[in-house]
C-alpha cells in the first residue's frame, strides 16, 4: 500500500515538475531541450532524418513563439504521456562508446 502511494506521489510530482518547467507550453519535448554537446550532435546524426526534421520544426516554432511573447493554445501543449524520449537512448549509446574509447586510451 505504501509502495502504491509513494508511486502515485512520485508520478504527481513528476507531472508537476514537467508543468513547472514550462517548455511544454511551446510544444517542445524533453529531448528538444538537451544541450547540444558533442554527444548530442553525434546522436542527431544517427537518428532518422524525419525525426530530426520534426525536432527542428518544434524548435523553430518555439523560438518564434518566444520572440512574439506567445505560447501555444492549451490543447496543443505537450503532455508528459505523449513526450517520447526519441533521442536519449541514442545519446546514451554515443556516451557509452565515448567512455569505452576514453577508458581504452587511459589503460593502454
Amino acid at each position: 500500500m505504501a509502495f502504491r502511494t509513494s508511486a502515485v506521489a512520485l508520478n504527481n510530482m513528476k507531472r508537476w515538475a514537467y508543468k513547472m518547467a514550462g517548455f511544454n507550453k511551446y510544444g517542445l519535448l524533453r529531448d528538444d531541450c538537451l544541450y547540444e554537446t558533442e554527444d548530442v550532435t553525434e546522436a542527431l546524426r544517427r537518428i532518422p532524418q524525419n525525426v530530426v526534421d520534426e525536432r527542428n520544426f518544434r524548435i523553430v516554432r518555439a523560438i518564434q513563439l518566444s520572440m512574439t511573447k506567445n505560447i501555444l493554445p492549451k490543447e496543443e501543449w505537450t503532455k508528459l504521456e505523449e513526450d517520447v524520449l526519441y533521442l536519449t537512448p541514442t545519446v546514451e549509446q554515443v556516451k557509452k562508446e565515448r567512455e569505452e574509447r576514453e577508458n581504452w586510451e587511459k589503460n593502454y
Binding site: 546524426r45 544517427r46 562508446e97 569505452e100 574509447r101 581504452w104 593502454y108
Partner: protein, 438 residues
Amino acid sequence: MASKSFITPFIRHVTTRGYAQAAPATKRDPKLTSCVMPHKTFVAAFDNGSPVTRVTVAFKAGSRYEPQSELGIAHVIRSSAGLSTKHANNFIMSRKLAQIGASVTASGDREFIYYTLETTQDNMSAALDVLSNMITCQEYRPWELSDNEPRLKFEIAALPPQVRAVDLLHRAAYRRNLGNSLFISPKRIGKISSESLQHYTGTNMSPSRCAIVVVGGTQEKANMIAQNLTIPALDPTPSEASKYIGGELRKEMGGDLAHVAIATQGAVAGSAQGLALAIAAKALGNGPVTKWGADNSPLAKAIGNIGPFAAAGFNVTYSDNGLFGVVLSVPKDEANAAVKAVAGLLKNPKLSNEAIQAGKSQLKLQVLSEADEGSSLAESIAAQGFYTGQAKSPADIAKEIDAVSTNDIASALSGAARNKLSMGAAGNLAFLPYLDEL
C-alpha cells in the same frame, strides 16, 4: 683493458649462439591437408611451421552474385569489413587487433570475398574472436556506412586505367554475373542501404558457401576454427551460370595513352586447359625482363617497333568460364597498329618452344613466390577449394606446370583462338580500332 677485450667477444659469442638456437631448428616438410565439414564448409590447413598464422575465411559472395539492381554491393561489403558489430564497435575491434599485433584484411574478386587474419601463434585465439565477430555479426550501421563513402570514392579514383580496361573487358564479355564490375559505380555510392547489405550477406554467406584456410597451423586447428565460426545456415541460393557473349566497351578518358584489354574465352578454373593457357599467357610476354632492356617476348615481336609500349599476356579462370588475352598500354597514335597486331596474334597464336619454356619457368616462379607470401597463399588455397573441392600445394602445382606438354598448350591456344574476341579499352581512344575492324 685486458679483461675488457676478453669479455666482449665471449659475450657476443654466447648471445649469437643463443639467438641462433632460438630460431626454430626443426625442418618440417610443409604439408597441405583439407577436408569438408558436415555443414559443407571447405577446411584446409597448410602447416609450414611459420611463427605467423594466417587464417582466411572466404565466401562465395563476390561481385558475380550481385543482383543487377544492387551493383557494387560486394565492393561496399569488402570496404566495410571492421565496422561495428552486435558485440563490439569498430574502435575496440581495431584497437584489440592492434594491441596483439594482428591485422585483418578483406579482399575480393569476382567470385569470392576473403577475410584474412594475420597473427602470431600465441595471440591466435584473441584475434580469432575478433575475426569471427567481424564476419558473422556485422550490423552495417547507416551512419558508419556514410562515413565510409570518402574511402570508396578514393578507391575508385585511385584505380589504374589498365584495371578499368580489364573491368570493361569482363562486362563486354559476360554482360551480367561475371561481367559485374569489381567496383561500385561512383553514382551508386551512398545509395546502397544497410538493409540490402544485410540481405546480401544473409543470402550469400552461409556455411556451404564458405572456405576456411589456415596457413601456418594444423588441420585440427583449422577444424576447430570452422566449428567455432557460427554462420547461420541457409537454403542454397541458385547461382546463374555465366555465358561468354563477347563484345567491346570503350571508355574515353583522355590522356596520351590507350589502355586496351583484348581477350577470347579461356578455360575453367582447375582444368588442364586453364593451366596450359596460364603458361601461354606468361609465354606471350610480360614486358622486358631486364631494366631498360629490349622486350624480346613473342608479343613484343608481333607488335614491332612502334616506340614505347607495354604489353602482357593475361589469363583468368573462374568456376565456369575464363578469359585469355593481352593487356596493353600504347601511345594513342600507335593504338591502331598495336591492337591489330595483338588481335592477329590472338587469332593465330604461334609460340616457339623456347617461349613456352620461359613461360613455364616464369609461371612456376610466380606460383612459388606467391606461396612465400602467406596471405595470398591462404586466399589461393581457399579459391582452389571452391573451384575443385580440393587443394594442391604450390610445389605440386609447380610439378604440374612442368608436366604440361607443348602439344597441350598448342591445342588449348587453338581452342581459345576459335572463340570470338572481346575488348575493353580506357584512355585516349582516338585511333583505337573497333572490334570488327580488327
